[in-house]
Symmetry: C2
């Protein structure tokens, strides 16, 4: 799994990091790094959220709001940050509710560019 080091680096660099995944808008995972003891069904979570992200991208398109860059959903138990890599792929980071949201956003933004180069 060629991207494992990058993904592991993200999860281990952010307080409360539970897992991160490179996923296609078609719902197919390219690579992932999940902690075993996350206590949430991270796979199901990323599949469900990827479907939402597709809807959000479509809505942003209708609204002429410009290309989708990032979407975040915070609930009582988790924080999920999704960051566009390119037209086909995105990164999704799952944090615990008390995870470091700002740092998570920063790491995704930083690594999305490099991943785009490697995936194009």
């Amino acid at each position: 799994m060629p991207f494992r080091d990058t993904l592991k680096g993200i999860v281990e660099s952010v307080e409360g990091g539970l897992g991160v995944i490179i996923m296609g808008y078609d719902g197919i995972a390219i690579d992932e790094y999940f902690l075993d003891n996350a206590g949430l069904d991270l796979n199901l979570m990323t599949v469900e959220y990827s479907s939402l992200l597709k809807d959000v991208r479509h809505t942003a398109d209708i609204l002429k709001a410009g290309g989708l860059e990032e979407m975040a959903v915070n609930t009582a138990r988790s924080r999920v940050i999704m960051r566009t890599i390119n037209d086909d792929l995105f990164l999704a980071l799952i944090l615990s509710h008390d995870g470091n949201y700002g740092k998570g956003r920063y790491l995704l933004r930083r690594d999305a560019y490099g991943l785009n180069d490697r995936l194009s």
Copy 2:
């Protein structure tokens, strides 16, 4: 419009603030404060995003991720932050792309509690 001062205070306190709205999950606006020269169709934007927010809440429910607290969507032209007030209502803040996202999140979190007291 009884909440106008609160809403105006949010928009004018955050760099890049374009508008803020108190909206029901049924898509009906309770009160709003929009700048005239926002350059985006803020009304359409809030209606479209409120529909997405309902889907996200439903998904969070399926995932047993706990109650939805916040959702944010950043595109090339705008940043939209939505914050739950209570089971029926939410706040949506629209910022320009270079708006102060962190401060916007803070102001919504701070004022959502007070608005819940006044709206309950």
